[in-house]
Amino acid sequence: MTLINVNGTQHKLQVDPSTPLLWVLREQLNLTGTKFGCGISQCGACTVHVNGVATLSCITPLSAVDGQSISTIEGLAPSPDQLHPLQQSWIDEQVPQCGYCQSGQLMRAANLLAHNPSPSDADIDVAMAGNICRCGMYNRIRKAIKSAAGVQQFDPSQPTEGLANG
């Protein structure tokens, strides 16, 4: 039995504890926004937050997150009628093309801004180095991060109304 809190909801899971968190999210919890890209921590499509830290769910066994709080793309927005500033800037800058990598990009970027509200280009290069976009929208991602940086108000790793982490 493993206990995890995902986007504010507690789950008791009877799953092989060696199963990577990615597959638990996608198959047991039906949270399909987190994507499979490589399975070996090389592409970043599976990025989620574990206790507020960006984590690659494809190589994180369920046993390693027992009792922890997890945020996924489905929990990035502060409330159902409000977008996270990064989600809004992603729309404003028309970032996604195919969109498949964007959950991971957004979760990684949210983690960056949570810890560094006004990142430099070099900071962005370092933070986003693990996230591949095959549509090549890196410049738009960079621009969207910078435009959201000025209005960052919400840290998905912190408890807020509607997101009872903990």
Partner: protein, 748 residues
């Protein structure tokens, strides 16, 4: 418009829900018919249905193309809505179902001046080649070859929008008893200004449905466009920032199992012995299945289902654990000793032997020009095999029961996939339903149905829905690769450095046929190819043969300019007087890039020019070389796609194409060892990442020429512009990609 009126007709009718449905069909002559009986009259069928208007005044564009990131639905809906004078906020789009009514082969074939020879190359194997010459309507529904806007949009969406506007105006004029020329359409309303009457489009649905649509409605001049050419936000983006966009991998069915698969690593190999005892012992593993032989003859030349072994389990993870614990001995094959080296040796040998060389073009007296040359330069170029590496690994979800198959898949040819799955299962096509999903990248890979066939065969065997998910390693090792190519050049220059002869021989002809041709004026030229087949499966890769040949030809013309002691931009421009459109694009990029401005030591600038998919693109690259490392600082692109329907969409596609080509030029290499692919995943098949990203500036030229494609034309020019820039910085000519293999130490 003349072309359209000879070949098509438009029909309309009221659909069950009470909305107006308007479509365009292909048949000889210029006849109109009601939608309901359009198929009955001569056994012909309505091939396209583009527009729905409902009682709530919502216009829906029905898009017979697949979304793989390119924003096709938005661009096509813009074209339809603009001609209709609809309110953009009341316009939606949806992807057409995979049925024959939405096949787009016929519209392509009818509209392309070449009668179909300009079709994207990947179509050819999928329809078995010969059929293309027949007049039959074929069940194809392809997205590729950068065709959507320039064919479906230009010849379908705009006409449907304009025709419906005329019908609605006529309906309003009749109801209001005013002359039709006093009724205008504006923002999804009909307006009679002098009487002040205003009614939404929807008021006139029933009256319009009784009308015969005009076959040649008046289209707008580009100066009248209100939605085309203007920035609109893509409709699909909000769902791509909150995790709700549904890709094929996100499909969930009751009682669904998961599977993953491995095929013989050496192409053409098969399973000799299998020990699956350890795999079967893994908790959650349900079954281990060697796929049966199936009929794939109509869809895939070299693919065999019987060399696939799949693990079916309660989840992907146990399936993957099962796969990793299979002990498989593969049959030996005649290709077990083939390597990248041996393949390139074969190419070199076959080009030198020059057996059965076929000319693409032969003009002027090549021998005399070579004999009279002041200077002859020669070079050989090579590019390796490349994988596609879509972000979303190949997957498909299938359910087979009661003699029917339903399949959920992201693909570039839903109708072709439907036929492929039907063939493999031995079903009639009517018993197969394809639900096409968003694609996490396509790039040509998802035009081939191997993964869908595997899923269908598994589901048939298991008797429960199965979601087949390939490992990334399988995706790298079982691709239909961009072909490796070698290309040999010889050029003659006269006393003044003028190019007098251009000779080029390369291995293996691929689509499009014009890819190796150069736009530059030269009196004598002979471009041709020899056959040098290998056992490596190949397929369409973003921009198809242009991606290799643009690197070859735009590098070698740079060599010619250098041999002449002339500036590479000036040298090109001087040979484009007969091609004013190309010249304008080249001049635009040079001006935007400030071509003449001197650069610091260790920096370099290169240029290239390319025509393909109806568009012309030129690029200038600036690089810095430091400690043997290449940094791409800046890419300036100029693009003439006729008219940019969606300027931000075009800009994004050019950027995307540049990054795709840049990634390949810097890092891309599939290595063959022992007849199989050596690379496995993103750890050894490197991708361009954020820190290596250059600045990209895209300049759009609206030339007024017929609309061209956007998805592919950005890719080919980047490799030669980059290597020409490295030459400019270092004096080193790069004739083999990828650049990561080139030692640039000591040159910085």
């Amino acid at each position: 418009m003349g072309k359209w009126s000879r070949r098509g007709f438009i029909s309309a009718g009221v659909i069950a829900a009470g909305g107006l449905l308007v479509g365009v069909a292909i048949r000889p002559g210029n006849r109109a018919a009601k939608l309901s009986d359009s198929g009955a009259a001569n056994g012909e069928k309505l091939l396209h249905i583009w527009l729905k208007l409902d009682r709530n005044n919502i216009v829906t564009a029905i898009v017979p193309h697949s979304e793989m990131g390119q924003g096709v639905g938005t661009a096509l809906a813009q074209m339809l809505a603009d001609e209709l004078d609809a309110d953009w906020n009341l316009v939606k789009f949806e992807e057409a179902p995979a049925t024959g009514e939405f096949a787009n082969y016929s519209i392509l074939k009818a509209m392309l001046p070449s009668g179909g020879s300009d079709l994207p190359g990947f179509v050819l194997p999928s329809i078995n080649g010969a059929l293309i010459t027949t007049a039959q309507a074929l069940d194809l529904q392809i997205t590729g070859g950068s065709i959507s806007v320039r064919s479906t949009g230009a010849f379908g969406m705009r006409i449907a929008g304009a025709a419906v506007k005329e019908m609605l105006r006529n309906a309003a004029a009749e109801a209001w008893r005013v002359p039709v020329n006093e009724v205008i359409a504006r923002d999804s309303q009909l307006v009679h200004q002098s009487s002040g009457r205003v009614e939404p489009f929807a008021t006139f649905i029933d009256a319009a449905a009784e009308m015969t649509p005009p076959a040649s409605p008046q289209l707008k001049q580009s100066s009248e466009f209100k939605i085309m050419g203007h920035h609109v936000e893509r409709h699909d983006i909000p769902s791509k920032v909150d995790g709700t966009a549904t890709f094929a991998l996100d499909v969930r069915l009751p009682d669904m199992l998961y599977a993953t698969v491995r095929r013989a690593p050496t192409f053409g190999g098969g399973i000799k012995t299998l020990d699956d005892s350890q795999a079967r012992a893994i908790k959650g593993v349900v079954d281990i299945i060697q796929l049966p032989s199936a009929d794939v003859s109509r869809t895939l030349g070299s693919f065999s289902t019987a060399d696939s072994i799949a693990v079916v389990a309660e989840g992907y993870w146990p399936a993957k654990q099962g796969l990793d614990n299979l002990k498989i001995d593969w049959h030996e094959t005649e290709n077990d000793s083939v390597s990248s080296d041996s393949i390139f040796q074969q190419f070199d040998r076959d080009i030198s032997a020059n057996v059965d060389r076929e000319s693409d073009i032969s003009e002027g007296n090549l021998d005399a020009a070579m004999a009279g040359a002041k200077q002859i330069i020669e070079a050989d170029y090579r590019v390796p095999y490349l994988a596609h590496m879509c972000m979303e690994p190949l997957n498909a979800t299938a359910e087979v029961k009661n003699g029917r198959c339903e399949i959920w898949v992201g693909c570039q040819n839903p109708l072709g996939f439907r036929q492929a799955v039907a063939d493999a299962l031995g079903f009639d096509i009517d018993n197969v339903t394809v639900h096409n999903c968003l694609m996490g990248g396509g790039f040509g890979r998802k035009s081939l149905a191997d993964y869908a066939i595997q899923a269908a065969l598994l589901a048939a065997q298991v008797g429960r829905p199965v979601q087949l998910i390939w490992t990334r390693e399988e995706e790298v090792r079982q691709d239909f690769y961009r072909p490796a190519v070698q290309s040999r050049f010889r050029a003659a220059l006269d006393e003044e450095g003028h190019l007098t002869a251009w000779e080029n021989t390369y291995v293996d002809k691929h689509e499009p046929v014009e890819a190796p041709l150069i736009p530059y004026a030269v009196a004598a030229r002979d471009i041709g190819h020899v056959s040098s087949p290998t056992h490596i499966p190949f397929g369409a890769w973003r921009s198809v043969a242009h991606s290799q040949h643009c690197f070859f030809t735009e590098s070698f013309i740079d060599e010619v300019a250098a041999a002449a002691g002339q500036d590479p931009y000036e040298y090109r421009a001087a040979r484009l007087a007969h091609r004013p459109r190309q010249l304008a694009v080249l001049q635009k990029v040079a001006e935007a890039a400030d071509w003449g401005r001197p650069l610091a030591a260790g920096r370099g600038r290169g240029i290239s020019l390319q025509q393909g998919f109806g568009s012309i693109v030129a690029q200038v690259v600036e690089v810095s070389i430091t400690g043997g490392e290449v940094q791409v600082d800046r890419v300036v692109a100029a693009v003439d796609a006729g008219f940019a329907v969606s300027p931000d969409g075009l800009t994004a596609q050019i950027e995307s194409g540049i990054v795709y080509g840049l990634t390949a030029a810097l890092y891309g290499e599939i290595t063959i060892e022992n007849g199989a692919v050596k690379e496995s995943n993103f750890n050894d098949y490197q991708m361009l990442r954020m820190s290596a990203m250059p600045k990209i500036e895209t300049h759009i030229i609206n030339s007024g020429n017929p609309m061209g494609g956007a998805g592919e034309p950005g890719t080919p020019p980047i490799a030669p512009a980059l290597t020409n820039a490295i030459f400019n910085a270092t004096g080193q000519r790069i004739r083999q990609l990828p650049i990561k293999n080139i030692d640039l130490q000591g040159l910085s």
